[in-house]
Symmetry: none
Subunit: 215 residues, 4 copies
């Protein structure tokens, strides 16, 4: 949220920050619409109505612009979801709320998430061709969710299972819920989310009927 300072520690001026935000917005729109390959600096500039050179003036290069997009969108979604989880006491409740809040975020930030996906799966900065982000980018999410699952297991809410695999799978389910919804605009996102919540509740809950009840 808070505007980043320059690499050399200097603050950015208000005007500069506004331009950067404007360019980032434009790049997000272009990415969502035309994909990574179709997003040239020229098109981004054209969409803003500025000269090509302005982007080079405000960003070190195309890579930095892309990284800024990832950083902003990621920060935004993390903040949103985390704020929703604070009030949940049980692990089961937190899992369901995670799915619900993510779905809600997706509905309101379709463009940003599309752009994020384009960059994460395509940006390569090193000459060896390795992805700058890729799926490794999800590692903090996996870690947090893994901790949640372990907590639920220790509390007896959850059956024993591999917490890492479950974490990866939950994220996969969320990502493809989004992708499916994008492709099928009439699809009911909330219903999908509820189905997912049920699905993972069944998949995780303790099998011993006498254990600590949830819901």
């Amino acid at each position: 949220m808070r505007p980043e300072d320059k690499p050399d520690g200097q603050k950015r001026s208000f005007v500069e920050e506004a331009r950067r935000a404007q360019i980032i917005e434009s790049a997000i729109g272009t990415l969502a619409e035309l994909g990574y390959t179709g997003t040239s600096l020229a098109r981004v500039a054209e969409r803003v109505g500025i000269s090509k050179g302005v982007i080079s003036y405000h960003f070190a290069g195309k890579a930095e612009l892309m990284e800024q997009i990832v950083e902003r969108v990621y920060r935004d979604i993390a903040q949103f979801v985390l704020s929703r989880l604070e009030k949940e006491a049980t692990a089961t409740g937190a899992l369901r709320e995670t799915i619900r809040s993510v779905a809600e975020y997706m509905r309101d930030h379709r463009t940003q998430l599309l752009a994020l996906g384009e960059v994460v799966t395509n940006l390569r900065t090193t000459p060896d061709g390795a992805l700058r982000y890729g799926i490794a980018f999800n590692e903090p999410i996996y870690d947090a969710r893994e901790a949640l699952f372990r907590r639920g297991q220790q509390a007896g809410e959850f059956r024993p299972f591999d917490a890492r695999v479950m974490s990866v799978t939950v994220q996969a389910a969320l990502d493809d819920m989004f992708a499916y919804w994008v492709t099928h605009p009439g699809h009911d996102l909330e219903a999908h989310a509820e189905e997912l919540a049920d699905l993972f509740e069944h998949a995780t809950r303790s099998e011993d009927p006498g254990a600590t009840a949830n819901r």
Copy 2:
């Protein structure tokens, strides 16, 4: 498997088919290594050791080459998985076998699947910027798996749930299992697959303990 005929209906000669296969192989390797953006026709040609023009000679353009890759890889994986499912009687068994066979295929076809993913998520042929494949590409898979789930539900093996959402989620789980394994080479793919099978068994099985037993 069977070589496609030319658009004008003529058969392709054996030599021509061999060249096409060779170029496709090279393109798959390049896609897996350098990603969609890094895969230029020049690099593909260089890898085979032929002149750039040859590709244009054998394929109508870059798009057709990419489409051929999708077709070949997709046909191959479908054939493999379907042959594995024939012997499964129960829906539950078919689901577990699906996951196992897909995992097995992934282990042996890492490169092809990476390339497939690059093309599916990046190839755009129309000027409006729409993806040529995208997730809609999975529709036949969803349909088939949906039918499986309905069958299981009617047989009492499965609890009631939205078969479409479950289908999408299974595919998501498989795709990210692959992606995770690619990023973490030491990860145990088979164990992951078994965990997924357990996960979806719990997620789908009938809750009424008295109903038709599974397994």
Copy 3:
């Protein structure tokens, strides 16, 4: 040394003159380090820690900045060498002292001389591509040295030779002494200068053994 007035005849303020000097110093450093091509106004400004626009404010353009560099460095070296020659009576002595004093100047003004060379051999201001300075820039030096040689010849110290060729060659020897020393930092500059002095003493001295002795 004395600050130039503005083209319109106005005097420059002290502050303005200081800024100009600061920018010139920075440009000299950049030229010496990165060469003419690598010396952009952006880099010069960055080195001083000022905005790019400041340079354009104080100088009519890149060309004027470069010309100012030439003027300052040239004025400085001329003043230094001329002051050393005042006390020399004989032409032979003056020649040796020229070489010695130039060498001494080179040792203490490596950066400035490197910058001077970059500008002299690269700056072009007219659209026809002609060098602004080039070797013609040495003409005053040639003239002065030619006069010295003629004086020596008339005094019988020097043998008959083409004074212009000798002048050009002395300057060439000095320039390449500098260039060689820059490339071979361990090279003994003073010894090189003495060798040059001997070389040109042999090359110039009167062959008639009975003539006015020197040294």
Copy 4:
């Protein structure tokens, strides 16, 4: 003289070699006329009447084109001068013949030598800003000439002097003879060369009028 093979060992086709030569010729002309800074690939292509991309097709980049120029011109001049020296028996004779042959070469290859100078003093390939050639490029010449001087000293033709300094100075004298002639088209190059020969004969010859031994 002989066309270089490709880096991967393959021979170049006749047509390709012709194009490369044509582009190199054009670049030489542009360098001589407009200098290093004024020599863009676009201008070189325009002069040949080809598309910009052709240069990139035949050369790895601007740097390789420049290096090819250096290599060709250098090889040519070395071959010319060395062939002239074969018949000289004495060191004194070889020195005079060197000067004469270089002057003759200069008269007939003004453009090439101008281009060579531009590249040698300006081409930088490493990001640290170091010159690709610079004066270090003369090292083989210095070495050869140094050997000649030592031979002359041992034979008693030459007085004792620092052979390295003498070598550097001879080269400087030749280079500036060229530069002076370029700037003063009416200047008599042959006369200048004879003067230089006399100059260095006086500068090098044994002082003891009697004998083989010196000093």
